[in-house]
Amino acid sequence: MIFREVEDRDLIAKARRGNVEAYNLLVSRWEKRVFNYLLRLIGHREDALDISQETFLKAYQNLPKLDDPDRFSGWLFRIAHNEAFSLLRRRRPETELAEEPRPADINARMLPIELSLAVEGALKVLSDDQREAVLLKVYQGFKFDEMAEILGCPVSTVKTRLYTALDLLKATLAPAVLKKEVVRGEL
């Protein structure tokens, strides 16, 4: 992980000096994570692709403004977050009229694909803010303070959104599993 961060910093320095290949390598390295974050946040493949493109374009144009190359990932996701919520705000009127998504029923004998579909359904029930908190923490592995920087809000707000989301997800995803198993000695 440390080696990877050093490499990113080196690539950023080269890209700032006009090395095109260095930035192309950064794109290759981060595009999958950014795309999946946007896909799960927005729920639309083409929009996620377009915003991924916009994110990397803006990152390239603003690379000289990046104060600390070690914080590239958070800075990049901050751009992606801004772009995504700009889109979500634009299209909110039509989504509010749409029917609320319902989480799928969960049981302990679900196949992996069924469980994945159930998770997708459960994530869709969350608000955009709650879902984004889960995506940044569970799928992208950011720390609370990094999430606060990306989202532009206090750590306490981040924790509130995340914990509320986890309680909702737990209520949907955990009961059936827990009924089948007596969980002891987990620690």
């Binding site: 595009e31 390239y60 144009q61 969960i106 969980v183």
Partner: protein
């Protein structure tokens, strides 16, 4: 089942998400070992997070455009922001400013430049006049010579014609006179009259 610590119980979400430091983790684990309510809560949180983890990342359907692609080309106005272009613009601006604000040349220098320009212009005009006059003179001389020759030729022809005509009329008059004299003599002498 509930924990007797109530609100003071460990933050199991932070624990499951790896946000607790080592000391707090150890403290939470000691408590959970003797608390069925907290064990249940932690288990539910782990199940939830494990379920979330079953969602796999998707491959990007098509690659994100690279810097070398068209979409990354800077807009025309962004060219002005490039350091090299900006430096060139500054140099060009400095040259222009210098051209407009430089001190004027001295009056003496201007007068000398004026006299030199006038002298050169005069010399050029004189030379042009001289060459034009020379060429005109030759042409006029040739034209006059030709005109005189032509006129002389016409006069000679006219003179010759007049002389011939006079000689012819004189000959005819003389012949008529001779005939008349002959007739008069014959009438007076009767000779040769029938």
């Amino acid at each position: 089942m509930t924990c007797k610590l109530q609100d003071a119980r460990p933050d199991w979400k932070a624990y499951a998400l790896g946000e607790l430091d080592a000391a707090k983790r150890r403290e939470a684990e000691v408590h959970a070992a003797a608390c069925a309510g907290c064990q249940e809560e932690l288990a539910a949180m782990r199940v939830t997070i494990d379920a979330l983890a079953t969602l796999r990342d998707e491959e990007v359907p098509r690659r994100i455009a690279f810097v070398s692609d068209k979409v990354f080309e800077p807009k025309w106005w962004q060219m002005f922001l490039r350091p090299s272009f900006a430096a060139g613009a500054v140099v060009a601006a400095a040259i222009l400013v210098h051209a407009f604000v430089r001190p004027p040349a001295s009056a003496d220098a201007a007068a000398i430049e004026g006299r030199v320009a006038a002298g050169v212009q005069q010399k050029v005009a004189e030379e042009v006049d001289r060459r034009v006059a020379a060429q005109l003179s030759v042409a006029v001389q040739q034209a006059v010579t030709k005109a005189v020759a032509d006129t002389q030729k016409l006069d000679d022809q006219r003179t010759a014609q007049l002389l011939n005509a006079a000689e012819r009329r004189y000959s005819e008059s003389a012949e008529i006179l001779n005939k008349q004299v002959t007739q008069i003599y014959a009438m007076n002498t009767g000779a040769g009259v029938r």
